[in-house]
Symmetry: C2
Subunit: 159 residues, 2 copies
């Protein structure tokens, strides 16, 4: 099981946009240069965050991305779901109904499989934890030096 | 993010072996037939559980698999880890140290990135939940009818 690299990329971009705290959109090229990421791939992931209402995008030469909401209104869960999709990590394919299980009456399968229930419970704990952490929380725990250096870098490159 | 189908397969096999509660090993062919699974692929996954000390295997014509420990000593976390490996779902590639970050002194990176910390915290909640649930718990919550039908089926097919 592995989360896509887009999760790391977009979380860092959100943190950067939060630190810049500007109404001026930041271009994909600049965000890509900040982390030496491939611009086209990064842009695709950032567009996914636009579709989820986490980022707002402005088209055109001076266009780019900014946070669509205040950092305290953006949770890690939303960013992860924007990239990974809404599906559960554990996907039950109901193998219990096949083979030996095919003989059993249908009403026995109305209740969710105990394995699915147990796996969902764990995934819910993961989701709950991600939903409880906001971009503002990360900005508050990150070293202030990192925020300042990011702002300085963008000033220098004309961000 | 998706857990491999092997997680569903092997958890069901463990549940079946727990219900049969026999010292006699159950062959891959029979376990595969129970859920209409491809025997060779299933066998590969069951071998992973042997390597993790969850199942014991007996070679030979009358060989097969049985639980290596009592069901209350087998957690969901162990089965999931046997199939998925020990790696974290979120893999930090330290993109913060690239591009704009390359100029910063190395000591600034001694502390774990806030994003990694936040993602790890959520994953820990998932792992803790999986570790708290045993095969015995699942056997206790599953419908008794399912256990009985499984035992009857194995008696009929000569399990």
């Amino acid at each position: 099981m592995r989360l896509s690299e887009g999760v790391e990329w977009t979380l860092h971009c959100c943190l950067t946009l939060g630190w810049l705290d500007s109404d001026k959109p930041v271009s994909t090229a600049k965000l890509a240069a900040t982390f030496e990421l491939p611009p086209a791939y990064l842009n695709k992931r950032l567009q996914a965050l636009v579709r989820s209402g986490i980022l707002a995008s402005t088209p055109g030469v001076h266009g780019g991305f900014r946070l669509a909401r205040p950092p305290e209104k953006i949770t890690l869960m939303e960013v992860v779901a924007a990239i990974e999709g809404p599906e559960n990590a554990f996907r039950c394919t109901e193998i219990r109904q096949r083979g030996a299980g095919a003989e059993r009456p249908a009403h026995e399968y109305k209740r969710q499989c105990v394995i699915t229930t147990a796996m969902r419970k764990a995934e819910l704990a993961w989701r709950r934890e991600l939903a409880s952490q906001t971009l503002a929380d990360m900005m508050a725990t990150a070293p202030q030096a990192a925020a300042e250096r990011t702002r300085n870098w963008f000033e220098r490159v004309g961000g």
